[in-house]
Symmetry: C4
Subunit: 271 residues, 4 copies
């Protein structure tokens, strides 16, 4: 049980996945579904589909990094060009709810229904083979895990129980980490519950670089998550470009979450 | 839809606007309108008209920067010398409510009434041709946009849906950004809901410099917003002076919000 | 009304006052007066009289700085040796409530009563001539100002309306500033409402040094406030020592609040 | 009463204790005992027994540092290999509740019962002679102190009333400090009450190094506390390794809390 390095592909110590939660305004639409959305927050988040996602795509292209993009079904439906462009550039597309619903807000039948609709929508828009799920709230329920299995998905990437892929509730889990999420650092939306003052991107990516270096040191996996409406903004995008240059130099394995999940499953098969 | 540089005037990549929300005590007077204002917060904010706005004006003069100042009507009425001095120095003056009322707190008729009164007051005090609106709460309503159009205003500068001027609800929007607002970083007022510990101005302006550099890199617009009672304090003012020196060296177009809105409208006309 | 340097004594530009709010456990005792105090918070704050105040006194002695110490009456009564030592070292002693009561919690008669008792207690313990008041909550009421005048006090030092001494409610005000208070940066007490993670003292004093430098640049006054139970801890005390060395080198006038108030009053007399 | 250096063993000025609160999921299980635990938080905290505690043990082994590990009874029962490994490596094992219950949540009889059960469990699992208690909430009650005495424990290490061992409620207190706890800096759990954005470990340990340096300067004691599920993560563990290297170079006395308590008691005996 002593911490041992994970068996990554030949010649690498540690792995890195670049993931994007392509939320746009959907989280605020869900939260205000029984009330009135704040126009300011809709616009701030609407920056995602209008501008941010395109800049993130450019940053990844410049760095030569292929990532995993989790897109809510409603967002995909309203912004089909985004889904097509993500797919055209060879990135993975995964599930992220219909309207960014936390699993805990839905009963099993509704969760199944919205997940199926999202799956169909991503498929119809050319999203390729969708095999993974990222919970909108980075939380899960037993019913949600059960539905993922019923739908034949290959992995979930929402929990934090390990620093390498692991098995949870019958499915392969590719774990995330709050320290590698841009939202705690950048999200500030004003209004009655504004959030913490937004951190300086140049400092945030230095911290993320530490996490990547530690993954290389301990043989673990660092899954970075950014959001279209946050890291797509100019200063954050410029900092992200710097980080990806660092990641490439660090020698870790850069792969999509689907690739990492497959690797884990294959390891398990031979173990 | 891929992120493309915006067409700025000849020879520049990126733009910068220096804006000042000249609030003084008005936000606290509005929030405590049904209760009792805290004398300490009134004094802390009263630093704005007493001292802060004059120091900000000096910092801008030393840097040779012309800015846009959004002044609530009640503040203007109580501090006419401030309005006259802003105008005498050639800065733009814009609307910022009567008593810093968030649009969502007012029905259409009241919003129209207070906006008209503020317009008349600024005009009577020599504020020049007022063509722009900055929402006190950096939020809007349909009714508020409608009133801006009815009053023939040229632009709004309160929303965050893009990183360059854009069209929203029938009017030209010159977008702001929380990361370029001094309030999340400096506002700490004590009492039951004090806010976050005030950040170090020297570090805050380094972060703002990153945003200006990113505007130059990506061809976008950086709209900085400071407050009389926050950035007018000595250490913050000294840091602001350093930032403005950096902005001048960065080669971006430095313009008032009205000038940027006009440029956008002219581009649209020829496009 | 343009920001002009204040007329400080010959040869100096800017002034600095070292003040100490000697609270110990009194704020928590007041807040929990109708309930049950948390033993952990009493102990954490009890560090002040047990250890912190003595270390702060040593830091000031090493730096050759004379300060102003505001001591709640109940604290003085329970820790007479503290009051005697502060006085013996030549520091100013001022009022800070009886049990650290915010003025807004008391009616005029009660405020008068507790202030009188505190005045008598400080006097009886050898606190010297007490001429100043520092509000425990850094807030005031009309009644509280009125009582200060009735008791013949020379100044208040609790408000933030200026960056130099000024006149407020009939008394000389020597203003404080949240950015120069150690509590927003260091106070973290655990329990249900813990506060913000404590800042690194070495960085906090760099920020305070900026404030002192800005006072020298703009000819203003920087009033630093530390607390016995916060800045008396080892790393904070070491950082405070570094700051005071910087202050001495900066060439500002270092004086007690009483001296600054007297200077202001004398200037007013000849103006 | 003037701050004087504490009498540490020959040749050292200042002391350092490395402590680990081995919580895993127990705090969340206790808090949600009447509701439903969040699976995400259980997984995030479950990182502790699955991975974090083993990495912390390795970091300490590499640094040659012997520490004090406070293990809730339920955690020990569910993870006996952890307890055995801690003991096998020569570290001290101490009490930390049964299910991480704050003492204030329990009446005397229940506190006695859970503490006894935890004591028996740690003993049965080979935890060695358990002589110390660390409150799960870093708070105490009179009843809790009373029970510690009844059970014949040698020390408590939960309060903050001094910067060296002291006597409190009839027992030797080896004080902790919020500034030397990783939780305020690293704990971010998402959900409705997420916490503060997680700090950068490299900066946190620089701050802790300041605290150790200040302990050496003033002759005091620095008790560091880390958590299995927080400092066991890769970047935090790497930073902790750097800190321990600094501690070793600083020349302070590195000892377990039990050793420090014994030293204090022996000093008292001869004083």
């Amino acid at each position: 049980m002593i911490a041992a390095p994970y068996a990554w592909p030949d010649g690498v110590r540690g792995a890195f996945a670049m993931t994007v939660d392509v939320d746009g305004p959907t989280p605020h639409l869900w939260k205000s579904r029984d009330g009135r959305p704040r126009p300011a927050e809709l616009e701030q988040r609407g920056y995602g589909p209008r501008r941010g996602i395109w800049r993130v795509l450019d940053v990844l292209a410049d760095a030569g990094v292929t990532g995993s993009f989790y897109v809510p079904g409603a967002y995909a439906q309203q912004n089909p060009a985004v889904v097509r462009e993500i797919a055209a550039r060879g990135h993975e597309i995964g599930l992220h709810g219909w309207m960014h619903e936390p699993p805990v807000d839905l009963d099993r039948a509704t969760f199944l229904d919205v997940t199926r609709r999202a799956l169909d929508t991503l498929h119809d828009l050319g999203g390729g083979r969708v095999t993974g799920y990222r919970s909108p709230s980075w939380d899960m329920t037993d019913a949600a895990f059960d539905v993922l299995l019923e739908l034949g998905l290959a992995y979930d990437s929402s929990m934090m129980g390990d620093d390498r892929p692991y098995r949870l509730a019958g499915i392969t889990e590719v774990p995330v980490s709050w320290a590698l999420d841009d939202a705690p650092f950048y999200r500030y939306v004003g209004g009655p519950d504004p959030g913490h003052p937004p951190h300086r991107p140049r400092e945030v990516v230095q911290r993320w670089a530490d996490e990547v270096d530690a993954a290389a040191r301990y043989g673990t996996l660092a899954v970075l998550t950014v959001h279209d409406w946050l890291s797509g903004r100019p200063a954050a995008a410029a900092a992200l470009a710097d980080l990806l240059a660092h990641v490439r130099e660090s020698g870790v394995w850069i792969a999509t979450v689907a690739e990492i999940a497959s690797w884990h499953d294959a390891q398990g098969a031979v173990a």
